[in-house]
Symmetry: C2
Subunit: 213 residues, 2 copies
């Protein structure tokens, strides 16, 4: 397998974590987003969305969208499971993942920040305020859900990592890099620290990637 | 079951379609977003995200995030299936759904448009340009994927509706309401028309809802 990805892309990092949790190897193919390599024919032929990550299977099939890729990995390599055994638990884990992947991350994507500045002429300070607003309010939702539910354990759901942790942890890395407030989300940060103590999360973090600056 | 939702919310419409395809009944509980009813205690106690839809099960369990809800309905009421039988097919359907739910819809959500105008002082015309930009470019990605894959059939994936159609169709309703360009996505529109010919899509559309103006 080949993972076309970028060290700072949080959607890429989600898949790197899942691969590591499953003990699966994939060649690391860097796609430099700031240099717009995602818009070059070599990559856009793989992914019309021009978004990383893209996972190319050994038979050439291309998978896109990080949560869909992780579900595929979980179905084809069931151990250790990244989703709970019960339908209600799976719904909770997917919903927590989507609280990050559908409510926070899309608003702070590079292409979105560029459109704000280049097309809408939003000042840099306002762009940063926008970034922090969605991260801080979005993580507050996750905090309320984690703190208010007995199913939260060492990780988002119980005592083993799930899809929800694969999606949450990269968002915290971004939040830290952009100096977002995090003192209002203690349960989120406790889960984050528990995740980062695991090699699957630590060894795949942005700073550990081959294309890190 | 109770579905807390809003007629114009496309995430709500996704779940209405899935319930109808499954032949499941749920009480319709309107949450008027323009009047900010989602921020009132009655609703925010159900959903810390203050986002519709929320599905309340008969035992009081609350499910949020439309794609997670639809997967739950599919797991607990398997017929007719809303995901393909093979892992690669499921990855494709989830990925198509996420191309809409993670790349288009979050940018055009009411709370986001309000933030642009109220906080960043973006002019109404620029806000509308922003809206159309993400819809038109995002649907172009879906078009390329649908047109370039033999697995596309009468619907996004084969000849029966899936999660991808549940997510795509509400986005087209929004696009039409906001006068977005759609002549560049003929395959998308063919799938849309095939969906709207089915009662599950037509009878649950915004204009048919009890809270429609």
């Amino acid at each position: 397998m080949q993972l076309h990805n970028y060290f700072r892309s949080s959607a890429s990092y989600r898949v790197r974590i899942a691969l590591a949790l499953k003990g699966l190897a994939a060649d690391y193919v860097p796609v430099h987003l700031v240099r717009n390599e995602q818009s070059q024919p070599a990559f856009s032929a793989l992914a019309p969305s021009r978004l990383v990550p893209a996972l190319v299977l050994d038979d050439g099939q291309v998978l896109t969208q990080s949560m869909a890729i992780i579900e595929y990995l979980d179905e084809t390599h069931p151990e250790p499971p990244l989703l709970p055994a019960d339908a209600l638990g799976r719904a909770r884990v997917r919903s927590l993942a989507q609280d990050v992947a559908c409510e926070i991350h899309p608003l702070d994507n590079l292409k979105v920040l560029r459109y704000l500045v280049r097309e809408l002429k939003v000042a840099d300070a306002d762009k940063d305020r926008w970034y922090r607003h969605w991260v801080e309010t979005g993580l507050e939702v996750v905090e309320q859900r984690l703190a208010g539910d007995t199913r939260t354990g060492r990780f988002c759901h119980g005592d083993t990592p799930t899809l929800a942790d694969c999606v949450l942890v990269p968002q915290i890395h971004n939040a830290q890099r952009m100096n977002c407030r995090l003192d209002h989300v203690p349960t989120v940060m406790r889960v984050f620290e528990n995740c980062m103590a695991l090699p699957a999360f630590a060894s795949t973090q942005p700073s550990a990637c081959p294309d890190a600056a």
